[in-house]
């Protein structure tokens, strides 16, 4: 099943035969996937299936045991720290928690990457930050501190910050987790709109099926460390694969067992406490 999506000859991210393990535990095994330019591509899978690990590999925060990770044709694991930082200036990442710097205001959080990497005058910087905040509808919240923001607002500020340097791609790590339905809707709308208006490539890691299907052009389903299903959201909805059905319909039992592997129940009960 490790094939590329059809018609994705111009892929921004290419992962080939990737293997990654943590200690004895194999997380990703012979994983191959393509993220086409200009699209919203979702990577879905259960908790602990290695979705976030894929983002960390693309961002160069960890290195694979074997296999290739190419971003814009550049092999990420082979980059020096300096080269990696140069590449990251062209990547945005929205963390699950937002990862806002808690000692800086909303304005300063969005200004942070601009101050670090450019020499814009304060007048121009103010204009750029206000424009980014306006994009996510939070221009009026510029003076608030992160502790004063709701979960949804914090994620929108983080989104404004991740587009501050006008990246070529944004990686979203569980953007809908822990949000109320309205905030989920706002984030979904922003992901879609930013993708279109900025012409960027978006990778959405999520286990939130309805919202993710609503905004993505293509989706991969991850299980047992590799791709076990892929296609447009409509194709996945119609899939006959048992695993895909279980995940898309949220069934409690199926190829992914309900019970954690254990020995014989009766014998377990009869055994005396050690």
């Amino acid at each position: 099943m490790n094939t590329s999506p059809s018609g994705s000859r111009d892929a921004l991210v290419e992962i080939r035969n990737l293997r990654f393990s943590r200690g004895e535990r194999l997380i990703l095994n012979d994983l191959s996937l393509d993220i086409p330019r200009g699209t919203v591509t979702a990577i879905m899978g259960g908790s602990g299936s290695g979705k976030t690990t894929i983002l960390n590999l693309i961002g160069g925060r960890i290195k694979p045991d074997t296999g290739q990770v190419l971003v814009d044709g550049i092999s990420v694991p082979d980059l020096s720290t300096r080269e990696l930082f140069e590449l990251r200036k062209r990547m945005g990442m929205l963390f699950q928690t937002g990862a806002l710097l808690t000692d800086l205001s909303v304005f300063e959080n969005v200004a942070f990457p601009i101050r670090e990497h450019t020499k814009l005058s304060e007048t121009l910087l103010r204009k750029v930050v206000l424009m980014k905040l306006e994009t996510v509808g939070l221009r009026g919240a510029r003076d608030l501190m992160p502790s004063e923001l709701s979960g949804g607002m914090a994620r929108r500020v983080a989104l404004a910050r991740s587009i501050a340097l006008e990246p070529m791609m944004i990686m979203y790590d569980e953007p809908f987790t822990g949000l109320d339905p309205i905030s989920k809707g706002i984030i979904a709308k922003l992901i879609r709109e930013l993708n279109r208006s900025l012409g960027i490539t978006s990778i959405v890691i999520s286990h939130d099926v309805p919202e993710t299907c609503l905004i993505s052009d293509y989706a991969y389903l991850l299980g047992d460390g590799h791709i076990i299903g892929q296609g447009t959201p409509a194709e996945l909805q119609k899939s006959n694969s048992e695993y895909v059905r279980q995940f898309m319909d949220g069934l409690p039992d199926g190829p992914v067992p309900y019970e954690y592997p254990a020995g014989d129940y009766l014998q377990d009960l009869m055994e005396e406490a050690a």
């Binding site: 961002g59 925060r61 930082f85 990251r88 806002l100 808690t102 942070f112 910050r161």
Partner: protein
């Protein structure tokens, strides 16, 4: 028995591995300080956080330590008719030993623990990872300013501790116990050597600053990113810093006195 040997082996290997990691980390931090010229504001901010905000506990402790030294010193010296040397005793005790050591212990408890908790929580809330993904090196932006601030603040705090301690000794010795103020100050002036005594204290407190700040930032950066992990790291900072300060104090004293 086998299990015990295995556990012992694992603990030793893990300890050595961690020490190696700490060494590489501090090397990175020291290298990162080279970029602080353009981030001077950050260092000043951190000197305020670890230095100025620690002042109160340092000054109050220094005053009481000085007062106790005044009391204890007077009671011993008066038996030998040397109560006039009280100023010298108080000053030498503070400048050479108590100033640097007690300041470092208080620093580890107040500022070191705060540094570890802050950095550990930044890690747990993905702020450090977020910086890395924004192509900003957290070692340069977060760790190095805090490390340097600790190194700069420690000798200054130790000097203030000693100064207020001398005043405390004066308050008790001269103010309460009736020691003559003239010999109290003049013996101090004659007996305390700038290079032999004061610089000795400055060197000690600078070394303690390096060690306490190094331990605090490393423990924070290396913390397991959970609430329990940060709590353990904070605990380790205080314990390791205190032990390191007391152990190094002996080594530095032996080296400067040249007796061992």
């Amino acid at each position: 028995m086998n299990g015990m040997v295995r556990t012992l082996g694992r603990v030793v290997v893990e300890g050595i591995e961690r020490l190696g990691r700490a060494g590489l980390f501090i090397f990175d931090v020291v290298r990162g300080t080279a970029e602080l010229r353009s981030r001077f504001g950050l260092v000043v901010q951190q000197i305020y956080a670890v230095g100025v905000l620690t002042l109160l506990i340092i000054l109050v402790s220094g005053l009481f330590v000085g007062m106790v030294l005044g009391l204890q010193g007077y009671n011993t010296l008066v038996k030998f008719g040397s109560a006039n040397s009280l100023g010298l005793l108080v000053a030498l005790s503070l400048v050479r030993e108590l100033g640097p050591v007690v300041t470092a212990l208080l620093f580890a408890g107040r500022a070191g623990s705060a540094l570890t908790a802050e950095i550990g929580l930044m890690k747990a809330t993905e702020q450090l990872a977020g910086m890395e993904m924004m192509a900003v090196n957290p070692i340069t932006r977060v760790i190095a300013p805090r490390f340097i601030a600790g190194v700069v603040a420690m000798p200054l705090l130790a000097a203030l501790f000693s100064a207020i301690g001398v005043l405390g000794g004066h308050l008790v010795g001269v103010g309460l116990l009736g020691v003559d103020a003239g010999p109290f100050w003049s013996q101090m002036q004659a007996g305390v050597d700038f290079y032999g005594d004061i610089m000795n204290g400055v060197i000690k407190s600078t070394v303690f600053g390096l060690v306490c700040s190094g331990i605090a930032v490393f423990e924070g950066y290396d913390a397991v990113p959970t609430s329990e992990g940060v709590a353990r790291a904070t605990n380790r900072t205080v314990v390791y810093s205190s032990l390191a300060v007391l152990g190094l104090d002996f080594v530095l004293t032996a080296l400067t006195l040249g007796e061992v």
